[in-house]
Amino acid sequence: MHPAILQQLQAERQARRAAVLVTDLATGLAELVRDADRAGHPLSEPLSKALQSGAPVNVEQEGRSLFLNPYLPPLRIVVIGAVHISQALAPMAALAGFSVEIIDPRTAFATPDRFSTVRLYPDWPEAVLQEEPLDRYCAVAALTHDPKIDDWPIEAALRAECFYVGALGSRKTHGKRLERLRSAGLTDDHLERIRAPIGLPIRASSPAEIAVAVLAEIIAAWRSPERAGAST
């Protein structure tokens, strides 16, 4: 592979755009196909398969062995709420390979002392997420159970087709939340995608245990064959 191809690939990854590296296994010559350019490409079918599954595809074409390796944008976990659960979730999610950010306008919670290892935004989700919009490669976990803070990012996450949208709160809290989101114009299809109560049911009790349950649920959502966008 030529270093220039590696540079192009890294630029696509940094811009959060999906791309596939096509390598001829006999010569090592490589071509980078951007997600946007795959439609008219002679290999469009296996390229699409690689991008949708996130897994490489081997293709034999005119006596050549080609290896199609997809690169999807780094997965982002956006945590709404600089709460106790977030303090455990942030380092665990970073270790698992996710890019993590914490957003909370309550400056008493969002202090660098409590969150030294991840990006922390002591600001409203509306402000932060307009700068860095959500996309299909994002997971959003709303953990404040304060409608003023949680509702906007939950709605934005559903509209952006984030692969995971989870919200903390009792069934009663969640029931009221659904009413508010419905009156904001979200459909039942949208609302069914919210994971609530948040986290896989592992009888988590402490904040750190709940963080494990949430992280596991995010991983399960990403790996699920039914993931939004995985089969389109």
């Binding site: 030529h2 590696l6 296994l25 081997n58 270790l95 030294s116 290892t117």
Partner: protein
């Protein structure tokens, strides 16, 4: 501790950085797996001319062999296809103790 320090290093980022520093770089990629294999296809290991490496193509079973081959690949400038499996008594030296087989494409980034 910074986020970069606790996040696992990204092999391609490391490769790009090494190239910008003028180091020779070889890239190993798992291209196919059969049976139980510790790292899925697409996984990368990058190696420089001095044998420094980042990333993985197995659970530590065959990295040593890939790194040794990388030095040859950097000298010859030609890519190479490597296969590892647990087929014989050498399994505990270079092979996959989990019983799987993997194919690794090793190429110079040049």
């Amino acid at each position: 501790m910074s986020e970069a320090a606790i996040a696992m290093a990204d092999p391609l980022e490391v490769a790009a950085r090494w190239i910008s520093e003028g180091r020779q770089v070889a890239l190993a990629t798992v291209i196919e797996t059969w049976g139980s294999a510790p790292r899925p296809a697409g996984s990368h290991l990058v190696i420089d001319g001095d044998g420094h490496f980042e990333g993985s193509v197995s659970g530590g079973c065959v990295e040593g062999a890939v790194i040794a081959e990388a030095i040859d690949v950097l000298q010859s400038g030609m890519p190479r296809l490597l296969e590892f499996g647990v087929a014989d008594e050498t399994a505990w030296r270079v092979g996959l103790s989990c019983g799987g087989r993997i194919a690794v494409f090793l190429e110079p980034v040049a």
